[in-house]
Amino acid sequence: MLNKIYDWVDERLDITPLWRDIADHEVPEHVNPAHHFSAFVYCFGGLTFFITVIQILSGMFLTMYYVPDIKNAWESVYYLQNQVAFGQIVRGMHHWGASLVIVMMFLHTLRVFFQGAYKKPRELNWIVGVLIFFVMLALGLTGYLLPWDMKALFATKVTLQIAEAVPLIGPYIKVLLSGHSTIVGAQTLTRFFAIHVFFLPAALLGLMGAHFLMIRKQGISGPL
């Protein structure tokens, strides 16, 4: 049955080469923890991706309840956490996942750095990886404001002060992020929400696509 469906689609769209490109590649012995346990360091990148998927899915469920305005944001998070079935688990996954993704990404970066895996011909992939790191930090920063509780508001005020301290363009960056030159309020929350939910994930998906395309094209770096 499944084979027939596959053949039916393949006859029309010729998906076999595509499938072989995506799924069919070799896993060398030196990265396989089944053969060398120390190769578990090669898992960090994959785990980062795994948590990113968890973040995307849990985030999608959070937006079913979250309301990005200053009157209801906190109330909606409180309701989600205390009234909704499994709301605490979903919010917990998104909250702890945000920390864990940073940890895994940090370990992955160190693995690549200390193995010198960023050297020619993989310079571009390293740069894209560092950009992903920045996007992840920005996601953490913007997501921190969204529950609209005390620590969210005041940490964001500090962040905006730091942005303002940038010479020349600082005040413009601040207004761009917060929607007003002095008030951190309704505009700031909706802007951070838009950045957290649309702009940064779009950038992240693009960068991750490039990251994976390059690793597939070049293959993983050889043993030291």
């Binding site: 076999t16 508001l153 500090v158 010479p167």
Partner: protein, 252 residues
């Protein structure tokens, strides 16, 4: 593969009519114990992922995600703290050479140099050697950076008053005894229809749980109104006294 003249397509599409069999590549000629990603290796990865997921879900069940009280911009005494992975940058801004008139150094120059160097690492560390011991400068700088990040984070955590932080953000839950005389009077005198059954305020009236008023002032407002609040209280002086004291107690 057949190309050009005589090639057959599916209908009027560009998809070739010739079918290619879906056969995995043969990895037997590859060095060492190379194995196929699909499906052999993916299955093992799947199991690692499942174990990881169990640990992760245990964490979310054991530890509730924190939520402080609703943002109050007027509370100027609140000491802010970013999420833990920004603490090292936050701590940097506390040193005199990186704050005040030198904020640009702490906020921009030092992090900019560090992250700039990280991004351009392949162009700074250009030699062919990959072993950490064969490229001492790159290894040394990275170890120094890691040590700095850990030290700054540690300093930030050690100098933060966690007790005070917990208190300043705590959600205030006022227990209201709904069988008390005071609450019954509040209900009878229609206080609750605007200020809410939990007296926490609503669209038409503010909260009665965050007042800084004496019993006399509260009694006066209840009897004579204030601002958009009409004079609602129609009971005896004794009831007024009980009501005012009940509200004061809630605010202690």
């Amino acid at each position: 593969m057949h190309r050009g003249k005589g090639m057959k397509f599916v209908g009027d599409s560009r998809v070739p009519a010739e079918r290619k069999p879906n056969i995995p590549k043969d990895y037997s000629e590859y060095p060492g114990k190379t194995e196929a990603f699909w499906p052999n290796y993916l299955l093992k990865e799947w199991m690692v992922g499942a174990v990881f997921l169990i640990g992760f879900l245990s964490l979310t069940i054991a530890h509730q995600p924190p939520l402080e009280r609703i943002a109050d911009p007027t509370d100027t005494a609140y000491i802010p703290l970013p999420d833990w992975y920004f603490l090292f940058l936050y701590q940097l801004l506390k040193y005199s050479y990186a704050s005040g008139p030198y904020t640009v150094i702490g906020a921009l120059v030092i992090p900019g140099l560090a992250f700039g160097a990280l991004m351009l690492a392949p162009f700074i560390d250009r030699g062919p050697e990959r072993k950490p011991s064969k490229r001492p400068l790159a290894t040394a700088f990275m170890l120094l950076s890691i040590a700095s990040v850990f030290y700054l984070t540690w300093e930030s955590v050690a100098h933060h008053d966690w007790e005070a932080a917990k208190k300043q953000g705590a959600i205030v839950d006022v227990e209201i005894d709904k069988n008390s005389d005071g609450y019954k009077i509040a209900q009878a005198q229609t206080c609750t229809s605007c200020h809410g059954g939990e007296l926490a305020g609503g669209a038409a009236a503010p909260s009665l749980l965050e007042l800084d008023l004496t019993a006399e002032e509260i009694a006066d407002i209840a009897k004579n109104g204030k601002g958009s609040m009409p004079a609602v209280f129609k009971g005896t002086d004794e009831e007024l006294q009980t009501l005012a004291e009940f509200i004061v107690e809630l605010n202690e």
